[in-house]
Structure formats: structure tokens, C-alpha cells
């Protein structure tokens, strides 16, 4: 195995200034120089990012700071420093936090459920906490979102009797209830089988219409399928922002195949055909392949030792 080489500066886009992500409208979320430390660990380091309507993917390895950033945007925690606005409000103020929460749908990484609640009760409970006080209208809304996530016929079932995929849909319904403008989804497809993931993607794609969705994930496939924009976070810093195509383009000309693992490659693995797929700076005359989003993501991370094979 070869020693990984440092990522060239051109392959990622870390920036101190907010980097606008292409959007069809004004940015919904603007983060500038946000820093947050937990004791001696710097979870976010001078993070700046802006995005607007549509689905924005947030890629990064474990411990990259994705969940921390999402929790800040969901107003659950406050950064040590930096400026940010969500839907035009500052979450560091009580009033701003209040206004954001009124328009927010948040599905945390491990949401937890009350097992003795039915799906309807759980979403109804969340709806109340979102200040939906008209009982009749609230119940109609709860039925609507449960229908949307395909649980209309299971709304009376206790959550303890639902499968993992169904629970995740209950969580999505709870996030969607109240028709939020900004939806934060933290690794929503973890633990789902391929069919459930596909169904979940459909749901997210449908619900993103007219809203701003921030989707944190390990799955580059999810980003490729769903997102108009993507940001890569690693070690608390933004490594890339752009479209999925632009992220894949980071690897343009830097993926090649060979019959043996190339010692100069930053990462390489044997594919199903028996050939090696190498990522890095190709040697002269190498058989260059079409890059994927995952190739671009791996190069954007700057440290691929974990995938070297």
C-alpha cells in the first residue's frame, strides 16, 4: 500500500468566506466563520456555507462535524463564534430561534421514539410542540403527513410494533408536519434496506418541492440521486461546495484502471472485473476512467487512507 499523497489545493474548496452554492433563489441559510468546540475538541472550525431552496447534501466521514452543524442550524445548540442566519433569522437570539423553529423540520440522526405512542400520537405530539393548537386542523395535518410518508394505514399502530424503516418514516412525518420551509435530515437512510432507502429518497425528493432541505449522509448515492448541491465537511472544515457534478469533476482525469495496484495512487481497489481502480495523479499513459461522485468525494476529503485497498 502506498502512502497517500496530500490533496492538491485545487481539488477542494475550503474557504473562510461564505461560499454561495448555486441556487435558484436567495440563500435560506448563511453560515459564516462558525466555530464550536466541545472541551478540547474543535467540532467546527471556521465553517462558512450558504445554500437555498432544493436539497443540499452534506457529505463527510464520521466525526467530520456534520451532526454538529446540523444541530446548530436546527437551533438545538449555539456556536461559540461566527455568524449565521436561517430563513432570515439569527438562531442565537431567542426571538430568532423561535421564528426558525416555527418553520423548521428536523430529523436527527438517532431520533428516538416513544414506543407506546401510536404513529399518529407521536406526530400529533410533535405538531403540538410546533404550536399547532387548532385540534381539528392539526389532526388533518397529521393525517396528511402520515399519508405522505405512506403510513396512512398504520397511523393507529404503536411505534414499538413498526419496522425500522417505518419508524424512520414516522420521524420524517414528524419533521414534515406543519409544512416547514427548512428541513434538516441527519443521515435518514442509515439502517434502511435498499428498497426502504429508495422509498425514502422518493419521499425526500417529493417533500423538497418549494423547500430548503439539508441532507447529511455518508451515502454518495443519496447525494447523486437527490441533491442539487453538495458540501463536503471533514475535521470540522468545509472541504468542498458545489454541485454533485462539480464534485465528481474534482476527480476528472484522476481515476484510472490498471491490472495491478498503482503504487502512486492515493487509493486503489480491485473491482469486480479484476482490474484495479486507482485514484490520485495518474502516471503517463494511464487508462483514465469516468469519475464518479464518490471519487470526487474521496479526493475532496484530502485524506483517503481509510479507503486504501
Amino acid at each position: 500500500m502506498s502512502r497517500p499523497r496530500p490533496l492538491p489545493p485545487s481539488s477542494a474548496a475550503p474557504s473562510a468566506a461564505p461560499s454561495p452554492i448555486p441556487s435558484s433563489s436567495a440563500p435560506t441559510v448563511s453560515v459564516s466563520g462558525v466555530t464550536l468546540s466541545f472541551r478540547n475538541t474543535r467540532a467546527l472550525d471556521d465553517v462558512s456555507i450558504r445554500f437555498g431552496e432544493g436539497i443540499t447534501g452534506l457529505l463527510g466521514p464520521n466525526g467530520a462535524g456534520k451532526t454538529t452543524l446540523l444541530r446548530i442550524l436546527a437551533t438545538a445548540i449555539t456556536p461559540d463564534s461566527g455568524a449565521l442566519t436561517v430563513l432570515g433569522h439569527d438562531p442565537r437570539t431567542v426571538q430568532g430561534r423561535h421564528e426558525i423553529r416555527r418553520r423548521l423540520g428536523y430529523l436527527p440522526q438517532n431520533p428516538g421514539f416513544h414506543p407506546r405512542f401510536t404513529a399518529f400520537e407521536f406526530v400529533d405530539y410533535v405538531a403540538i410542540l410546533k404550536e399547532m393548537t387548532d385540534r381539528q386542523a392539526r389532526h388533518q395535518e397529521v393525517r396528511r403527513v402520515l399519508d405522505t410518508v405512506g403510513l396512512g394505514d398504520r397511523r393507529g399502530k404503536r411505534i414499538s410494533s413498526l419496522s425500522g424503516g417505518m419508524r424512520q418514516r414516522v420521524g420524517l412525518a414528524a419533521a414534515l408536519v406543519g409544512d416547514p420551509l427548512f428541513i434538516v435530515l441527519d443521515e435518514p437512510t442509515v439502517g434502511l434496506d435498499p428498497e426502504q432507502r429508495l422509498r425514502f429518497r422518493e419521499l425526500v425528493a417529493e417533500t423538497a418541492e418549494g423547500r430548503t432541505v439539508l441532507l447529511s449522509t455518508h451515502q454518495t448515492e443519496d447525494v447523486a440521486m437527490l441533491c442539487r448541491r453538495v458540501a463536503v465537511l471533514d475535521q470540522g472544515r468545509v472541504r468542498f461546495t458545489g454541485t454533485p457534478a462539480e464534485l465528481a469533476a474534482v476527480a476528472e482525469g484522476r481515476v484510472w484502471s490498471s491490472t495491478e495496484r498503482d503504487a502512486g495512487a492515493r487509493a486503489g481497489w480491485r473491482t469486480g472485473t479484476g482490474e484495479f481502480r486507482n485514484i490520485g495523479d495518474p502516471p503517463p499513459g494511464a487508462q483514465v476512467c469516468a469519475p464518479t461522485l464518490e471519487d470526487g468525494y474521496l479526493l475532496a476529503l484530502g485524506d483517503t487512507s481509510g479507503v486504501a485497498g
Binding site: 433563489s25 438545538a76 423553529r101 428536523y106 428516538g112 414506543p115 410533535v126 420521524g171
Partner: protein, 523 residues
């Protein structure tokens, strides 16, 4: 960015601007309904209903003394309160136990408002408790034989106890997410309640309910500090609620102001309730106990004069029915002799325990001057034993010319047989079985002077031998025995006539006196 999708106009309608307070109320309603449906709470309420409706619950169901019945519900509702403490604690710790606080942290209602909602969710339980109390008490109060007056503060104490214990559950939830703490707290409260609240110290009044007052004391002589105690409970409820809200991050100034006001109520309530009973009340109680004639009114029915505490007037007809039944079994001259039936109560020891509680029937103003002896009757009626006691006391008076005295006199002769026979005949003969249930280990049978509920008034005792004669008489035709009683009255009531001779006069064979019977110290 676009406007909210038209797909959810309902959502926009459901979300009311500046709806914090209404959202808290909506959450309180949601949690309240869940609390009401909680198995623990349902079970506790069901047990409470069973308790209230149990056959012996209101021993004097047919003749309820309202000044006692107004607190009959308090203990069972405290048990409901313990169930509510656990259930609301589970609800308030739910998010942390199930890991949903990650979701809740990003929702509009902050923890302190959710805490307020949990506190408000207890109000439906208070209401259910209040309805149960009102139904039970209302049913009793509408009975024609009801006496005395209920106290609205006593009636509110039970439901308020439910509220207070529920607030304790919410406060515990704010202090720790452990689901074990609430049951342990219930155990500790339950234990301390039965240990400390059962005593006669002022500490007892620091607990939600206080049971130290005996039954049957006339309303004006009871005069429990129920109003102060209710103020104490409400203050404590508000104080703990304010602390819970503050711990959850509530507005400190509001919480502090509320807590100070509540603490004032707690202190005022605790202070005034501990000063009970006042010196004036103690004097009135002593007077009613030792010199009841000074505060009673009398009314004459035939040759019987009934002297009673004014609020018990509706029972005179019931007493007179028993007295007439006894008189009817005696010779005409005896039946026509004047007697006084006087209501007795031990109000001196009301509010305390540990006294021997014997009611001083013989007082200086009512010394043993022949007919001046009055027949005692208690301040409770309707359990089934009081009429036997009155019949026995009346029979004793007609047979001996005296009234029974506390100090357990043992009747070992013909007069014992006759007294018991008249008492049993004048009431339900089935009551003989209840007498047998209370038989002493040495074979004696006690007849409480004022009924089983006022045992501290003392009793007269019959030996097993006299009881055996009466049992033998019950196998004989009633008319034949009644005729012999009238014919042999002089012999049967003469001092020194033995039980064996009485049996002979009445036409039955008496069993031999046993060794146990011989050991009694006869009067």
C-alpha cells in the same frame, strides 16, 4: 425560496401566531388525556371507586354524619395521587428516557413550557377526583337521615392532594430522568405518612390528609383547620410547580415571584393549622363530653325524653323505634316508666390518639339518683350495631333501674339474660351472631355501649353462660318466651336470681356454668 406549499393550508391554519400559551394548553390537554388513560391511574381511580363504594366504607351510610363523610375520600385519593405521581413522572421523563429530546430541542415549546404543560395536565385528574368526591358526598348529603355539615375545604383536600403529588412527580422528573426515583419517593412518602401522620403531633398536618379526628363529633366541636390545610396544600402545590418550572429554565422572575407568594401561603397554612384546636374549642369539647345537658336540647316522645346535640334531631325517630321495641317486651308498668335517652360523645380526645377515651357517663350533675340515670346513645347510627347497643342500654335501664356504666361490668345473673334477650328481640336477632363474632377469648361477650364504632365508650359484658341461655330461648316460640318474661318480670329482675333460675322461669334448660364462666368478676 418560495412560500409554503399550498398542499398544506391546514398546517398554516393549525399554526396560530403567538400561540405559545395555546400550545401549552394543547400539550396539557394531550398529556392530560394520556394521564387519564394511564393504566396505573385508571387502576388507582377504579380502586378508589371500589373503596368509596365498599360496604363498610361509609359505616353509617344510611345515617351519614356529613362532618365526617366530607373527608371519607381523602385517603383513597392520596393513593390515586401516588399513582399520578408515578404516571406523570414517566410522562415528564419520557423524552430523556426514549432519546427524543434531540427532536424536542429543536421544537418551538421550550422545556419550561413543556413542564408547565405537564403541571396543567394534572388538572383533569383534579377534576375527576373532585367529581368523584362531589358525587359521593352529594349522594350522602341528600339522604334524609344525613346529619351535620360538610366542609368545602375538606372536600377539596383529596383532589388537591392528587394535584400536589402529581406536581411532586413533575418536579422529580426535572431533577432526574430516572424512572426509579418516583416509585421510591412514593414508598418513602407512604411509609412516613403512616408513621408520622398517624401521630397526634403537628407534623401530621404537614401531610396531605390527616385522619386523627375520630368520627361522630358534632360539627361545631370538630372544627378542623381544613381551610388552612387547603391553603397549605395549594401553596405547596404552587411552590413545587414554580420550582419545577424554574429548574426547567422558566422565567426566573415570574417563577421567583410565584414561589414567594406560594411560600407565604405554605407558611401561613402550616402555622395556623398547627395551632388547632384552640383553647376555646377545647373547653367546648370538655363541656359537651362531661356536661352535655348544657348544650343539648331535649324532646319527649311518649314517656321517653331524648336529649341530643341539635344537629342529630333527624335520628330521634330511629332511636324511639328501638326504645319502643324494648318497652313493648316488658310489663305495662315498666313499659310506661319514664326514661331519658341522652346522646354522648367523647369530644375531649377529638384530634388526638392514645387516650383510653372512656366517656364519663356518670358526671357530678347526673349522679346515681334513680330515674335520673339516662340511657346513653352515641353520635353514630346506621351501621347495624348502634341499635343493638341502644336496645341493650335501654333494656339494662329497665331491668336494673340504672344505666350501664363504663368499666366493663359483667352481668352474671338473670338480669344479664333478660337484658340480652330484650336487646336481641327488640332489634335483629341476627345481631346475636355479630355479638358472637366479638366474643372474648375467655368466653365473655361484650356489648358496646354506643355501638362498635364508638368502642372507646366502653361496654357491658355477658358471660358465655348467659349467652347460652339466650341462644336456647331463641329456639323457643317467641310469643311463649315474651309471655313468660312479662309474667316473671319481678323474679327475673330481682338481684340474686341466677341464670339457671332464669332459664327455668323462661322454660329452657340452661347448660352448666363452665370453669371460664366462674372466673368472671360479676357485678
Amino acid at each position: 425560496m418560495t412560500a409554503p406549499s399550498g398542499a398544506s393550508k391546514e398546517a398554516a391554519r393549525a399554526r396560530v401566531p403567538a400561540g405559545d400559551r395555546r400550545a401549552v394548553l394543547a400539550l396539557a390537554r394531550f398529556e392530560g388525556l394520556r394521564l387519564l388513560r394511564h393504566p396505573l391511574v385508571l387502576t388507582a381511580f377504579a380502586l378508589c371507586v371500589v373503596w368509596m363504594a365498599r360496604p363498610g366504607a361509609t359505616t353509617w351510610r344510611s345515617h351519614p354524619p356529613l362532618q365526617d363523610m366530607d373527608r371519607d375520600h381523602q385517603l383513597p385519593l392520596v393513593l390515586v395521587g401516588f399513582a399520578v405521581l408515578i404516571a406523570v413522572n414517566l410522562a415528564a421523563t419520557r423524552a430523556r428516557r426514549h432519546g427524543t429530546d434531540a427532536i424536542l430541542d429543536a421544537l418551538v415549546l421550550p422545556p419550561w413550557q413543556r413542564t408547565v404543560a405537564h403541571l396543567l395536565s394534572l388538572l383533569p385528574l383534579w377534576l375527576v377526583g373532585a367529581v368523584m368526591v362531589a358525587a359521593q358526598f352529594g349522594w350522602m348529603a341528600t339522604r334524609p337521615e344525613a346529619v351535620g355539615r360538610g366542609d368545602i375545604a375538606e372536600l377539596a383536600t383529596g383532589p388537591t392532594s392528587v394535584l400536589l403529588l402529581g406536581v411532586v412527580g413533575v418536579l422529580l422528573a426535572r431533577l432526574t430522568a430516572s424512572a426509579v426515583v418516583a416509585p421510591l419517593t412514593v414508598l418513602a412518602l407512604l411509609t412516613s405518612m403512616f408513621v408520622l401522620a398517624a401521630g397526634d403531633s403537628g407534623v401530621a398536618w404537614l401531610y396531605p390528609t390527616v385522619h386523627q379526628s375520630p368520627s361522630g363529633v358534632p360539627t361545631d366541636l370538630l372544627d378542623r383547620p381544613a381551610g388552612w390545610h387547603l391553603l397549605y396544600l395549594l401553596g405547596m402545590t404552587t411552590l413545587l410547580g414554580a420550582v419545577a418550572t424554574a429548574v426547567a429554565g422558566g422565567r426566573r422572575r415570574t417563577a421567583r415571584g410565584t414561589a414567594v407568594a406560594a411560600l407565604t401561603c405554605v407558611l401561613a397554612g402550616a402555622l395556623f393549622q398547627s395551632a388547632w384546636p384552640s383553647g376555646a374549642l377545647a373547653r367546648e369539647r370538655q363541656q359537651a363530653t362531661e356536661r352535655p345537658a348544657e348544650v343539648q336540647r331535649c324532646q319527649r316522645l311518649g314517656t321517653t325524653e331524648y336529649c341530643l346535640f341539635p344537629e342529630f334531631g333527624v335520628w330521634v325517630d330511629d332511636w324511639d323505634r328501638v326504645v319502643r321495641e324494648v318497652r313493648a317486651l316488658t310489663p305495662k308498668d315498666v313499659a310506661a316508666s319514664p326514661i331519658t335517652v341522652r346522646q354522648r360523645v367523647n369530644a375531649v380526645d377529638a384530634g388526638s390518639t392514645g387516650s383510653d377515651g372512656a366517656i364519663p357517663f356518670a358526671t357530678p350533675s347526673e349522679g346515681p339518683t334513680g330515674s335520673a340515670w339516662s340511657v346513653p346513645v352515641g353520635t353514630l347510627w346506621g351501621s347495624g350495631t348502634e341499635d343493638l347497643a341502644l336496645a341493650a342500654a335501654t333494656a339494662y335501664r329497665l331491668v336494673t333501674g340504672e344505666a350501664p356504666q363504663p368499666g366493663t361490668p359483667v352481668m352474671c345473673d338473670s338480669r344479664g339474660v333478660l337484658t340480652l334477650w330484650l336487646a336481641v328481640r327488640a332489634t335483629s336477632e341476627a345481631d346475636l351472631n355479630s355479638l358472637l363474632d366479638g366474643q372474648f377469648s375467655g368466653g365473655g361477650v361484650p356489648i358496646s355501649l354506643l355501638g362498635e364504632a364508638q368502642l372507646d365508650a366502653g361496654w357491658v359484658v355477658l358471660r358465655e353462660h348467659e349467652l347460652a341461655v339466650v341462644q336456647a330461648l331463641l329456639d323457643r316460640p317467641r310469643g311463649d318466651v315474651d309471655r313468660r318474661v312479662r309474667e316473671e318480670w319481678s323474679a327475673l329482675t330481682a338481684p340474686g336470681t341466677s341464670s339457671l333460675r332464669a332459664a327455668e322461669l323462661l322454660g329452657v334448660t340452661a347448660p352448666a356454668v363452665t370453669g371460664d364462666d366462674g372466673e368472671w368478676n360479676c357485678r
